[in-house]
Subunit: 375 residues, 4 copies
């Protein structure tokens, strides 16, 4: 693991998720550049002292030299360190599971894509919401054509925790997210807007071709955006709206998506992740429950418990790790359901395109096609 | 009443709502241009035969001549007949309660505004959602400053009943709504988009100054729009998103609004109209229930039953009629909580501005200020 | 109307409900024993002065003598006056719609049943919850056998407004309900327990045969019960639980019912009255929405608005009045969907049986069959 | 681990939960009496071959003899094997975390209680619902007196998966639960009724003193109960209702609890585990969200993620294991928040008392006080 030291939020999630199904074990980490802190983190997680490193490069070198060295690097640092860690690991023959967004910039993402393609190794990206069973069911319903052609997608991801400029009063999670040098061109849009964008393409099954964005920094003194509202046009003609905000005071982690087709619409909300509602043009509405035998294969394979036993964020995360571990074990070239570098490229293109177009009030702009990402 | 004959939806609602609180009685109507149909409708509602007219003008003349003639005309026809009926009634000294939108076009609305101002009579517009007690409570919370300055408003009004081009297979409700000659420049945006627009200004307390719209006709062969997505900027700087659709298959009559301020956000959904949720940046979320003694005066005055006894659409409608009747009885110049011709002007300006700007992909455009409508 | 003067809750509801669909008009009332109060109430509702009476008997006599006299008496007094008003009206040839419970005691109810049967007039009882469209749909689902044989019914009606002994501090609604002379043997059980009992039999389609009750007075100094928990056995073998409470602090008017059969279960809650959920042993859950074309005839006939337009308590009440008016107009011997004296008898038997059995901790006791009430 | 071999449900949950927070590692197991199956299970979870045993006694002996032997035994077998495994482990100096119920019978539980007390080791019982953060918050709210004195508790645990006698068609989970030799005197009541009973005492803070039970076997040919409805009286005078069912067709795993005090009531439902609602006699309702800083210490210590990131069943289970591991590490005599043998005794007393009293229709009976279990 690269990153994840004291005070981190997402590092421990990666650790729990990776180990949940018994397919992966944390064996080494460069948790912090401070040797003492890295060692302390390692000890807290039961690692031998010699496998808590102060430096990612040193870790990769040392682990590559061990017969029992790590095979997979989890990249859980702030954004500006993603590229370097992922590139080094891939070059050393490790697979990589990276937190999102892929890199600090689209240029870096393109460079990383070349490295991934040349590496013969797997690269996964933890757009975690794709790991929820009912999100996978939603995608399957759309692909199966149950709704008819998709006409409209509304995706909203509202948080309120950055309503005040807490990056200036010492909140470490806020500090790096509000700093262009560490976060990149996007603030909210890079932090959570990319999740909304990814899930819209993942569930809707079509790529965004054009967009018209209103990306703003609302909290006093903030440089990067904290509120984004984007009109979308998908290939095939569907329209969409993407809302992402970190100044929607009172909102917690409110991601929801609605997809409307010719015959009906489906809705999923992260606050009730184990349910999926489908409303039909004709006939009663349906609620599908995770863990039920009537679900499709993708959803059935993504639960551990009988219906009615809630699974959540860690389990969704674990689904990505589990799929990834299976693909590695089977020597496959990719892990079907796990977002990859193509999703990473699209996310970075979305961030940079929307931010630039909004700044200049350019109205509708094209989103350049970066690789074929829709599975 | 002008309109509301056999097969109508909104006419009977006006009748039930107007009479609910015992302040108004239906005494006459021009329910249909077919004399037999108008008479039949009148009989069904207990009117004397001589007060069911085949023609609005004839009704106005005859009622004005009676000592016990009607004092108030409810206009419930399709849009293209609103102006004529309202104008005639006002000129004859009747008060007018009109269904929305005010008129067929902005030009007509401006002319009507002049007539209203010169008439000395009251003109109300049944933007019915402003009649719900918890919408009024929401407005009061915003005005009181409980949320701090408003930063963002998301309003969505999704229906699915026009997913297919049912206007071509004889559905009378769909037929006039899809016909520019009877509906005006806007389809969905004029039918329900104006409701969303009105409630956003009513609750948010600020006027929309600029907008960027994507207004489309999605169902095959349809002329007028059936799907609208609009980015908004309010005076004072708040941002907004307005979504209105009649091709969101499976959606019923899904109006909801979220207003986010510096300290918290509130949410109201028409599917659970008797609740209002408020989520705070700090502290537990709250749910306010209609009929509770802790509510503000506006909400308390808009329920008839103790908390836990659901009231709905007819009661909200009746609240507008009740306020209007009180204002008439008290000889006041306007009925505080009832939308009026200024709201009508703004709605028409919104429709025409958004439709034109979207057609040309003009990006952000100004919404000309039509009178001061925000109370 | 008998009762319903100043300060009353249910009287105005009867007035609004009776008139909502234009089939019935309030023409006379004995709203209060104080002539001035009765006259004031009459004037507020637009009655001629000579039709606001200070006395029920006088009203019945005077109205019976008029060619345009009232045909139907609504009884909306406290319980102890139900019998006298209903009996007098029936004897004078009026139909009667009475608020529940039927009478002060089971003995009175039996006497009234005899009068009803001999009168040739219709007697209806406003167990209002049977008027909700989705309650009628629930009943139809059960009757159609969709769930298979019914095995279990859980019905709960929780309120909190009598958590404190407010009957001693001047609350008039509480005062008569807490007084055995005006309320009868049951407090909470007679006020809302009978609703729960009635809806269980109405939806479940089987009569309660045995019960085991825990009926208690919880608030300090209260004589009549305010909390009731009852185990039930239905004919045919289904089990049930009935919970009714007026000291469940924080509860508003929380009636809900769940019926479980061999193949699935349905659930309805008064807080979301326009929805009915059905969960199946196999396959996705369903949510049925009022106003939808796929509903059965009973539910379709009980809405005025398209789906997604909430109707509530007043409309449910109006459904009973509308059905009753139709039955009268058509000269039918009963109004199919309207609870009648047999339901009244069963309700009174339930109250008296449960109160007595609980007081003596008698465990399971039989509920004597009073007429055949299940339609 | 004792039990948990192929096809088991709860064994894998114990493994995931125990390891989630990195405080415990699975090092050995007697997963099945079939040596090949036990070895296969061990290998699947990464154990060395010599630590997958075919026999609990052999495992305990071997592990006790190793310097790196297991310190804690997780007992996840069917009920009839709980006593033997737990007793052997305690006698060998291991701590024990047992699935519920504690034993096959109350007599066994009493014997086990003696062994626990004499062992100097910790004994925990996975009444998992006490591990949910919002259940702990509920308990804290009650203890703090926010609701005033508790007056009523309604607890319901409804499942539908045993609606048909699937124990006869080879379902292994159903087979042992329906078999008195392996499940004990209670079917549904022992399987999930004890959870409901435990959470009622845990949250409500008072012991059940008397009960009146209707415990029935509903599905054709079933010996043990599958539907239980119980009236309760708590020490201090509160009343209660406990509903547990496995033939409520369509129900998934629907545990919910409502506690009503003098000033308000709280409600928690397992289908939305990260929320807790509190409705007040006066003032707006509140919804508390897991992960929020305003929660009490018990709830704050039981989440791993910021608010809005759902945690579920595995995490609740992990909270019990985490608390237990901390208590062991700190040498404490008990793990405060983890149910223990006293809860086990009360659960077994509840099962046997309710089953016997219901069989004879004895009405109200006392529930003998087994140790002081309420913390």
């Amino acid at each position: 693991m690269a990153g994840g030291g004291p005070g981190a939020f997402i590092g421990p999630v990666h650790r729990m998720a990776a180990e949940l199904d018994g397919k992966i074990r944390l064996v080494a980490g460069a948790f912090s550049r401070d040797p003492a802190k890295s060692a302390a983190a390692g000890r807290a997680w039961g690692l031998a002292d010699d496998r808590a490193y102060p430096d990612v490069a040193a870790m990769i070198a040392a682990e590559a030299a061990r017969p029992d060295g790590a095979e997979l690097l989890a990249v859980v640092t702030p954004n500006h360190l993603h590229f370097e860690a992922a590139a080094a690991a891939l070059k050393a023959g490790l697979h990589v599971m990276s937190d999102k967004p892929a890199t600090l910039s689209l240029a870096e993402a393109r460079e990383l894509a070349g490295i991934v393609r040349g590496s013969g190794r797997l690269y996964g990206l933890t757009y975690v919401y794709t790991g929820y069973p009912m999100v996978r069911e939603a995608r399957e319903i759309v692909r199966r054509g149950d709704l008819g052609a998709v006409r409209k997608i509304v995706v909203e991801y509202s948080q309120g925790w950055l309503s005040e400029p807490i990056e200036r009063s010492g909140n470490p999670q806020a500090a790096w997210r509000a700093d262009p040098a560490r976060a990149g061109a996007g603030g909210c849009i890079g932090d959570i807007g990319v999740h909304a964008f990814n899930i819209a393409e993942f569930v809707g099954g079509a790529r965004v071709e054009r967009l018209c964005a209103d990306v703003a920094a609302v909290a006093p003194g903030r440089t990067l955006d904290d509120d984004c509202n984007v009109l979308l046009r998908f290939e095939g003609g569907a329209r969409g709206v993407l809302i992402a905000s970190q100044i929607s005071a009172g909102a917690r982690n409110g991601l929801r998506i609605n997809v409307y087709g010719e015959k009906g619409g489906l809705g999923w909300s992260h606050e009730r992740p184990n349910e999926l509602t489908v409303d039909w043009l004709e006939g009663p509405s349906q609620t599908l429950h995770a863990g039920s035998p009537y679900l499709g294969a993708a959803a059935r394979g993504a639960t551990r418990l009988p219906t009615g036993h809630p699974e959540g964020f860690i389990e969704a995360f674990a689904n990505l790790y589990g799929d990834f571990a299976d693909a590695i074990a089977q020597g496959r070239a990719n892990a079907d359901m796990v977002p990859d570098i193509n999703d990473g490229l699209r996310g970075m293109a979305f961030v940079e395109t929307a931010v630039a177009a909004s700044r200049d009030e350019r109205g509708w702009v094209a989103l350049e096609g970066e690789a074929a990402c829709v599975r």
